[in-house]
């Protein structure tokens, strides 16, 4: 090893000996000392060179690299305005993308927390030939699990919207019914006690256990260390707590915070049902092949590829069909990636996120073009320095490397700040989503993890290359003579072409962003003003769940009748009803197989539709027009003949018209035949931008459900009505929890929340894109003006007017702007298909959005051009000429 102190000692000895020799030759001690020092040369450099002998080669190149970085940092620190501008622009560009990417990660790429790598998880669903995806029944799951060879283990789970506790203090939670191997397959441990085990999947109804999630345990049980062995009441059924799951685990359903895990064997006791027909605990939900309550998933065995697994699943599917004796309906077990799963938040959020991701990249493009402009201009002013370097023998590649390194030095803080920006912005978004979902809990895997960091690093590096490479190459191709002579006359059209290209790119991409933002804003506007097919004003919406108080269907019916009578007796109430689902509920409800009497399904035809159970007077209370027949009345009770109401689209599809539908028969799910007594107009069932779809209604007293929403219409203040109704419920059963109580009107923002979310995002994108582009264009024009000061001076000395000078610059700016607009419009048209998937009420080629965007962009170009042009016109010819 190199010993610095020893080496210094040696040098001192050397100097002493040399000096002593000189003294011996007759020199004065002082001269001798100075002479020997002079002869020795640079002591520090010698020490450094001696030290470097001991440094391994690879380390030396690291030192080179570090010294390059240090040099870059020094150079950049000398022009703080440039550096800070670049960092700020990059922070914005990377922040926007990191935020969208984090959301995309939390919805699709790695949406589950606490599982090794959820992106590697494969999902198995039943897919009809029409592409409708549904869960598997327990028996199908068993079959697949026992015969499959591609997975290291197949687990299953189903979401259970449950009530925790009893009576007034009951609280709605999300729980999961899980297979015995669920925790093993996912590799999730218990933080306390044990997980659900395969031994918990033996006999239906015999495994009354629950594993809690960590948050639930902390919030509702005060992190009780002795929780194991205590009981918890879920859906009116006592379960013994056997453990608490790992803190990072929030269940299998994207976007949901699942608070309890219960063996699937308890499905019937937990009230898991298929649609509306189950009344009370049916013991055969596990045996029913039609009850697709389970999401089946697992990790593929090492070495098994997805196509192989798919092929095996196909074979398995055929065997399963044969065994079950199913031949007429074509269903196929299909392998999906986690983001294709039919359950979870990603199902309705993913299209919006994809659009945002693309738009985010546009912002980054502008940011890069913007910085490329800055780097280019700066490269011009650094021509002297670079020319000297080249003249001293630095190789071109070395100069390019140095310039690229400078960009990287700027990109890294940009990436870090961008990530911090994203990390700040996202909890804000998710907490907003949580308020919308309360009291149920959501969970998004939005932690900044390796994936996000890798993404930000990749984006930063890529942008450093993009915004740095062309300008760097150009700067390294300096004509030495002209550069050293400091001749700044415009030379070569090429440099101007690059600048023009940057202006055009920024204009084009900001136009794209503005068109996108405009389209979504107009969609939102249209969605807010669109008539959803029912009248949400002056109607209450109060959610109750009779399960929490252990009602039997018989007692439940009595309760419903008493409640409706009491509410209707209020003076302000015109009509009142109950419904199992609210319209415009965003997510929709599980579809059910519908059989239509006299209609033979075409081969491969999939007759699965959504349905609702509603009380008497439902259609009049919500003011949904009836196209034919009648709505449900009090007489449609459990003793009367079974009836149904369908919507116009249903009637059109099967009976070619509303009038023909009356008197025809249908069967919903596993229920009996019902006669259609009415046809109701279509309404918007889940989202305002949904296409018309067939829909079926069943009467409450013939298709009992324990979780209903009370709607009452009255002309008085709706809030007062809400309070009145809560009082009625309390009078009838003071222990019954009221899950939500509000006006129906107030639930509607939920239906436009995605558009709102997108329009907020795109507004930010569009505004920042436009601001960046404006700044960029201003900078480039200002630079051109500065470069041409002398020329302008001469022309003005020769009699050119101010107006002529302004006109020239403006003309050039507007010309470039127009080209950019042309490119941008073409681009916007090219991506209109992508946008169309999220728009409502406007076409993706909406003229107003396009015109507005073009106007804003051209206005921005004119503004950004006119200021430097005006300055140019004020040039004093004498000063300009005296410059050299």
């Amino acid at each position: 090893m190199f010993d610095k102190a020893d080496f210094d000692d040696e040098i001192r000895a050397h100097l002493k000996i040399a000096a002593a020799e000189r003294v011996a030759d007759g020199a004065s001690p002082k001269d001798a000392e100075l002479d020997s020092l002079k002869e020795f040369g640079n002591v520090a450099l010698t020490g450094e060179a001696a030290r470097r002998v001991w440094v391994p080669n690879w380390l030396e190149s690291v030192f080179d690299f570090v010294s390059d970085i240090r040099y870059s940092a020094r150079v950049l620190a000398k022009s703080p305005v440039f550096s800070l501008t670049v960092i700020a622009v990059l922070t914005l560009g990377i922040g926007v993308n990191a935020a969208v990417f984090t959301l995309l990660k939390s919805m699709a790429l790695n949406p589950l927390s606490g599982i090794g790598d959820s992106s590697q998880l494969s999902i198995i669903v039943n897919e009809t030939d029409k592409g409708r995806k549904a869960g598997l029944s327990y028996r199908d799951y068993q079959f697949v699990r026992d015969h499959d060879q591609s997975f290291s283990g197949l687990a299953a789970s189903g979401l259970l919207a449950a009530n925790f506790g009893r009576g007034k203090n009951a609280k709605p939670i999300y729980a999961e019914l899980v297979s015995g191997n669920y925790f093993q397959v996912l590799g999730v441990r218990a933080e306390l006690g044990r997980t659900i085990l395969p031994s918990d999947e033996v006999a239906p109804g015999r495994h009354p256990y629950a594993v809690l999630n960590d948050g639930f345990w902390r919030r509702d049980f005060g992190a009780d260390p002795n929780i194991v062995g205590k009981t918890i009441e879920i859906n009116n059924f006592k379960l013994t707590i056997v453990g608490v799951a790992d803190p990072s685990f929030h269940g299998m359903i994207v976007g949901y915070d699942d608070e309890a895990f219960i063996p699937v064997m308890m499905a019937a006791q937990m009230g898991a049902n298929v649609g509306s027909l189950q009344s009370g605990a049916s013991t055969d939900v596990l045996a029913d092949r039609g009850a697709g309550i389970l999401d089946v998933f697992g990790f593929l065995r090492p070495g098994v590829t997805a196509p192989t697994a798919s092929a095996q699943l196909k074979t398995l599917s055929a065997t399963l069909m044969q065994e079950a004796g199913i031949s007429e309906t074509k269903q196929q077990l299909t392998l999906l990636r986690i983001w294709e799963s039919p359950y979870g938040g990603q199902t309705f959020l993913l299209p919006a996120l994809v659009v945002l991701a693309v738009m985010g990249l546009f912002v980054l493009t502008i940011a890069c073009a913007n910085i490329a402009g800055l780097v280019l201009v700066r490269g011009m002013s650094r021509r002297g320095e670079l020319a000297v370097r080249l003249a001293l023998g630095a190789s071109r590649s070395r100069v390019v490397r140095l310039l690229l390194l400078e960009n990287l030095v700027l990109a890294i803080p940009g990436a870090i700040l961008g990530m911090l920006l994203a990390a700040r912005a996202i909890p804000f978004l998710t907490s907003y989503a949580q308020t919308m979902a309360a009291p149920q809990r959501l969970f998004f895997n939005i932690q900044i993890d390796r994936l996000v960091i890798a993404f930000a690093a990749a984006v930063a590096t890529a942008s450093a290359l993009v915004f740095g490479f062309v300008p760097a190459l150009r700067s390294s191709r300096i004509d030495l003579v002209t550069a050293i002579n400091e001749d700044s006359s415009p030379r070569g059209a090429a440099r101007g072409r690059l600048r023009s290209g940057l202006v055009i790119a920024q204009v084009a991409v900001s136009l794209l962003l503005l068109v996108g933002a405009g389209l979504v804003t107009r969609s939102l506007d249209a969605a807010r003003h669109a008539y959803p097919g029912f009248d949400p004003n002056h109607v209450t919406a109060i959610d109750i769940d009779l399960r929490a108080n252990g009602y039997t269907p018989a007692r439940g019916r009595v309760f419903y009748r008493q409640l409706l009578d009491a509410v209707k007796a209020d003076p302000g109430v015109e009509s009142a009803t109950l419904a199992s689902t609210m319209p415009l509920n965003l997510t929709g409800v599980r579809e059910q197989r519908v059989e239509v009497d006299g209609y033979t399904p075409r081969k491969n035809e999939d007759l699965g539709f959504e349905s609702a159970t509603v009380g008497p007077d439902y259609f009049s209370t919500l003011r949904i027009p009836l196209k034919a027949g009648r709505g449900f009345e009090d007489r449609d009770d459990e003793t009367a003949a079974p009836v149904a109401v369908v919507n116009t689209t249903f009637a059109q599809k099967f009976y070619a018209g509303a009038d023909n539908a009356i008197g025809k028969r249908i069967r919903v799910g596993t229920g009996g035949w019902r006669t259609i007594v009415g046809v109701a107009a279509d309404i918007k069932y889940s989202q305002i931008n949904e296409p018309p779809r067939p829909y079926v209604y069943q009467p409450l007293f013939q298709a009992y459900r324990w979780s209903m929403t009370l709607h009452a219409r009255g002309s008085g203040p709706t809030n007062a009505m809400v309070e009145q109704e809560q009082a009625h419920i309390a009078t009838l059963d003071s222990d019954l929890p009221i899950i939500h109580a509000r006006a129906l009107r107030d639930t509607l923002p939920g239906a436009t929340v995605i558009l709102e979310f997108m329009s907020a995002f795109l507004f930010v994108f569009g505004a920042s894109g436009m601001a960046l582009a404006g700044m960029g264009i201003y900078g480039l024009v200002a630079y051109t003006v500065k470069q041409r000061t002398r020329e302008i001076g001469i022309r003005m000395a020769l009699g050119a007017t101010t107006v002529a000078v302004i006109r020239e610059f403006l003309g050039r700016g507007v010309r470039l702007g127009a080209i950019g607009v042309g490119v941008g419009v073409a681009g916007a048209l090219a991506i209109s298909r992508l946008l169309a998937s999220v728009l409502f009420g406007v076409s993706a080629t909406d003229a107003i959005s396009f015109t507005r965007a073009v106007a804003i962009v051209l206005g921005g170009v004119v503004l950004a051009t006119i200021a430097p042009a005006w300055r140019a016109s004020r040039t004093n010819p004498l000063t300009a000429l005296r410059h050299q």
Binding site: F2, D6, F7, D9, E10, I11, A13, H14, K16, I17, A18, A20, E39, F40, G41, N42, L45, T46, A49, A50, R51, R52, V53, W54, N57
Partner: protein, 118 residues
């Protein structure tokens, strides 16, 4: 003549190698300190080769790293402290190798230079 075969810069390697050889040669007659090595080379070459300290000391470090010389503090005849370098057996072998290569090289260069002489 590459001591640092992984370094791309062959020109400096040639110089380094030659200086290394000269130092080893000087140490053949017994241990010497840095200043004396420089003076010896200078005197032996009749003042043609002036070894700068800036090259000499890194070279000594290089030789020490290779294990061709060892060093030890001692005192000069004038009773001054100095670090003495001594040739190791490996250093001696290396010197022989360098010597024969050098002779070959000089002969080769000589042949080239005298080739078109009348």
């Amino acid at each position: 003549m590459t001591l640092h075969s992984s370094r791309p810069d062959a020109r400096t390697d040639l110089l380094h190698g030659t200086l290394d050889m000269l130092i080893l040669q000087t140490l053949q007659w017994g241990p010497q300190h840095g200043y004396a090595i420089g003076q010896t080379i200078r005197a032996q070459s009749s003042d043609v080769l002036q070894v700068e300290a800036g090259s000499l000391y890194p070279a000594l470090q290089r030789l020490a790293k290779k294990g061709w010389v060892t060093s030890k503090w001692g005192t000069t005849e004038a009773n001054q402290r100095a670090k003495y370098y001594r040739l190791t057996p490996e250093g001696k072998k290396q010197l022989l190798r360098e010597e024969s290569r050098w002779t070959e090289l000089v002969a080769a260069i000589g042949r080239v230079m005298s080739w078109n002489r009348p």
